[in-house]
């Protein structure tokens, strides 16, 4: 069974690039346009890894990250932040909240693919 990745970004174009890259590698991809939608998807789908933007309407990526880590069901979920934010302060904030990797936009799909492959949990 294919591993499932949740892509959270308010930009449809970024979601599309990430979706194409990850599907090409055999991953199943679900999408959300903000943190609130992402939490709903996490309730319904069995997701193995989350790729999230930081600046989004309704609920930003750092808040989403904190909420996921606060959930008993998802506290071990690997999360990659994919954002235009390149400042060290934001990266430190993301790391403190439990992110496993930080990718700055614009990004090459291979960078995302390698990061997902590295952090994807083994097993079912």
């Amino acid at each position: 069974m294919a591993k499932k990745v949740l892509i959270v970004d308010d930009s449809e174009s970024v979601r599309m690039i990430a979706r194409l890259a990850l599907r090409e590698q055999g991953y199943e991809v679900v999408e959300a346009a903000n943190g609130v939608e992402a939490l709903q998807k996490l309730e319904g789908d069995r997701v193995h890894l989350v790729v999230s933007d930081v600046n989004m309407p309704q609920m930003d990526g750092i808040t989403l990250l904190k909420q996921i880590k606060a959930s008993a069901r998802h506290k071990f979920m690997p999360i990659i932040m994919l954002t235009t934010e390149a400042g060290q302060d934001k990266k430190d904030e993301g790391r403190a909240a439990g992110a496993k990797a930080w990718i700055t936009k614009p990004f090459q799909p291979k960078v995302l693919i390698d990061a997902v492959a590295k952090l994807m949990p083994a097993g079912a």
Binding site: M16, T84, K100, A101, I103, K105, K118
Partner: protein
């Protein structure tokens, strides 16, 4: 019209420096915000639509490449040609084996013909022995006649021996005749076999050559087709890579969208600068506004633009792992 009237009205009296600009800006700011947001949304819509088309192209290329890969995995026409050539070689080999067996048979038949010659000689020997026996029996009969009554019994034996030798001579002749017939038949078989064998060999060689020619042409055609398909697949892969790269380049839309969104939000916020109870000085309010604006930046180039530092070229970076 209202805006024009207000500007005209303010022209009638001496105005402090920048007052007209401020009045114009206060009217223009919401319009600029709307214009920028409209442009942002239009660009976003167009880019997403363009990306959707690119994705459709990639999906179609994937379908075509997938079909080509599955065909390549199965038995190809070129493989069939090679297999046909191998089967033909087996058939030719089988025909040669049949010819070889026939040659062996002919060899055996020639051996039988040699035996037939020996049998003919033996039958001839039987005739000679019968003749000599007959002569011997004749002499015995003469001697028996000379012996008178005493030789009568011996004369009977001599007569019987003569009759037996005559029968032996007839049998020897008969054997010789039959052996001659068999020998002729065998010679006929050998001759026919050799004629057929020569004709078969020529037919097999000719057929082999024709089929090889046809299969070689077939192989060349299929090789051309295979090469052409391989080139087409490589081109498709290359086009797909280019389209994927174009998609990656379109990430600028996300970035420019965020920058324009921030500009619109700042313009909207600027309209509130003169409203409400303003306890702080104008300079302080402008400083607070600009500081607040800086807090909402999401990209390095926004921060660099704000501070007046020239922004560098944007290069994709690697991932930072924690």
């Amino acid at each position: 019209m209202d805006t024009q009237r207000e500007i005209d009205a303010t022209d009638e009296l001496p105005q402090p420096p920048g007052a007209v600009l401020a009045a114009a800006c206060s009217q223009a700011l919401p319009i600029w915000a709307k214009q920028i947001d409209t442009a942002r949304l239009q660009a976003q819509e167009a880019v997403v639509s363009l990306m959707q088309r690119f994705q459709n192209i990639i999906n179609r290329l994937d379908t075509a490449l997938g079909a080509a890969r599955s065909q390549a995995g199965a038995s190809t026409v070129a493989d069939d040609a090679v297999q046909g050539q191998q089967l033909l070689a087996q058939v030719i080999e089988a025909l040669r084996a049949i010819r070889s067996s026939r040659d062996a048979l002919a060899h055996e038949i020639r051996g039988l013909a040699a035996y037939a010659d020996e049998l003919r000689k033996m039958s001839s020997d039987v005739e000679i022995i019968a003749f000599k026996t007959n002569m011997l029996a004749l002499n015995a009969a003469i001697e028996a006649a000379h012996a008178g009554d005493v030789g009568k019994g011996f004369a009977v034996v001599a007569k019987e021996v003569r009759e037996l030798s005559a029968a032996a001579r007839d049998t020897g002749k008969s054997i010789g005749h039959k052996v001659g017939l068999i020998s002729n038949s065998l010679a006929q078989i050998v001759s026919t076999n050799e004629r057929v064998s020569t004709r078969d060999e020529a037919a097999v060689s000719e057929s082999e050559q024709h089929i090889h020619t046809v299969l070689e042409r077939f192989r060349q055609r299929t090789q051309l087709l295979t090469d052409s398909a391989a080139r087409s697949n490589a081109e498709s892969e290359s086009i797909k890579d280019d389209v994927c790269e174009a998609l990656v380049q379109l990430q600028f839309q996300d970035r420019t969208g965020q920058i324009l969104q921030q500009v619109v939000a700042s313009i909207t916020q600027a309209q509130q600068l003169d409203s409400g109870a303003n306890l702080e000085s104008a300079d302080q309010r402008v400083t607070d506004y600009l500081n607040g604006m800086a807090q909402t930046y999401t990209t390095d180039e926004q921060r660099q633009n704000h501070t007046g530092v020239a922004s560098g070229e944007l290069e994709p970076q690697g991932a930072t792992f924690f």
